[in-house]
Symmetry: C3
Subunit: 247 residues, 3 copies
């Protein structure tokens, strides 16, 4: 049918580790270069979690070189996904904070399971960190400036019904209907001639993609100097401790 | 009363042919330069159709010079209408795809007949073509980035109730109330002092207008090279055949 | 608690006179530099009016030097407030036209008393004047381009329920609940780590703030030459006469 499904299976919470990101980019690039593949559905094989976002262990107590390599991989994931020529549908079957939310926001369409226990949002501010400008640009393109400003400042995680109301996701469905719905949406998008759809998508996203491309090295340096601060290291360690205790 | 009504009467479907566009621009410029005229209502004299958009016969099997002349006329229509100092109200009494939708989007206010059989949208992608960047800019200014991105990629034609929900039109009325409503809206806008209203309008639209002015020749060259492709010519011919059979 | 309340008490209508603006800026700067202060609630001590906006007497029959000084103070108020590192909540307990609306729009969050007799909006066009580009930028960031375009051209004052629907304010409450609600909202925003919240706020607002900083002198010259026109002086005098008769 020309549609691939990429199922995230990195327990316990599908963190975006360097390994995950590298594998994600290789897989996506293969699909991108496979002319038989016209669309990808992203979903999770881990119950209750779509993706928990960037892997904090990659940002804690590592070398400058490691931070640079990690951040470049995060950028690459976004550049490939937001700029993909394929139709991309996020079938969000669990919570999706921070980088997990970015992943969903970078798709063409977002369907979320209507479970109010599942939430989605760019909650970086809650952790004492700041979403990078291209997370913000992607968010503003989806929900508009006002919703983005408030949500980013509060580091809000929006329960599924609120996520729909604010436009973070396009629709909610019962969990058992999710894959069927994702396939139906994909079929609708694939009914369009590829070339015109791709050029249109590129026209809508180019300004924001170009902005990261132009500032990529600077953005890496910013990340390194930010994450290397002792205050940030401390709050990330505290956050990890909290996560461990939660288990 | 200082209000003109421009009624499109170019059967069967008010296509934006070179002749239509030329006459439109001459008429609009006359009104613009007539200090007694402060507002224009645009509506259709053809049943069920506001305007079917750009005339495809102008893009098929013609010379490079013809394509250039045609595209310059399309640009001119938009530059004059989107930049008009007058209050412009679209009384959309029929379907309004592609260029017809652009015409409505370029006005200050859009009232549509509440008939769900009438639809409006920038459906270029359905035809295998891409809406120019200034169609896109105008659309984004009306409905926001997210709605525009989805609608343009899908080449959606929105039935009147959906068009209202997505903000493509400002209100729906019964067909028999349309002219009365348009006149009432016009009166409300004309209650403002012209000079302040005009400067405000210009402040809101200048960035987008300037962008086409700065890239006008490039945009014409893009259109020519796009429309001259054999694949595009073929799909336009197929589309025209389909339209003929429909009749 | 780290929260200050700034109560406007400049009867009869809390006009933004040069004195009011100067005192506002000095007070805000003191709070900004007081590390114990993390948030400010703005509200009015005058019944039924939050702030009536720029004081027209400062724009009528004064010297060029006076106009320059006044306009610089208006700019300064906005630069400080829109760019504040503190959490800023507007508790809008009365009508808030023009500059009063700008003041509310520049905060992080707006709560309005649900009295439909109270209205808010950038109604400059009604007075025959044009909102400056940075009023417009602030407005667009809150309500989006389409709502801003229509509202600015019509110089609309939106009654509280409509203001909520269009996104000019974030919520409505009964007058007796206003201060309690403002405190609760403030507590929610202050639950975030300051540094991350401040950097996020700055990321969202910097482009628009920078634009005025870059064009500040030009904007002052524009104001002077606009307000010095005899036609504008006349319409401002007429407006002041009307206000006096109303009393």
């Amino acid at each position: 049918t020309g549609v691939a499904t990429m199922k995230f299976k990195s327990p316990p919470v599908n963190s975006l580790s360097l390994d995950f990101l590298t594998e994600f980019c290789i897989s996506l690039e293969k699909l991108e270069n496979n002319r038989a593949c016209r669309g990808v559905i992203f979903t999770s094989a881990v119950p209750k979690i779509f993706s928990s976002g960037l892997d904090i262990t990659e940002m804690c107590g590592k070398s400058t070189e490691h931070y640079a390599e990690f951040w470049r991989a995060v950028q690459e994931m976004w550049l490939q996904l937001y700029g993909s020529n394929m139709v991309t549908v996020a079938a969000v079957n669990g919570s999706s904070p921070a980088g997990g939310c970015l992943l969903a926001l970078s798709c063409d369409y977002r369907i979320m399971v209507e479970n109010p226990k599942f939430s989605i949002g760019l909650n970086e501010a809650q952790l004492g960190i700041v979403a990078p400008f291209w997370f913000k640009d992607t968010f503003v393109n989806v929900v508009g400036h006002r919703v983005a400003e408030r949500s980013l400042q509060l580091g809000s995680l929006h329960a599924a019904p609120e996520a729909l109301r604010f436009g973070l996701v396009d629709e909610l469905v019962a969990e058992e209907k999710l894959q069927e719905k994702a396939a139906a949406v994909m079929a609708q998008w694939l009914a369009l001639p590829d070339h015109a759809r791709q050029l249109t998508k590129s026209m809508m996203r180019k300004a924001v993609l170009d902005r990261l491309v132009a500032h990529r090295e600077e953005d890496i340096q910013n990340f390194i100097s930010f994450v290397s601060k002792e205050s940030i290291q401390k709050s990330l360690r505290m956050y990890m401790e909290m996560l461990k205790k939660k288990k």
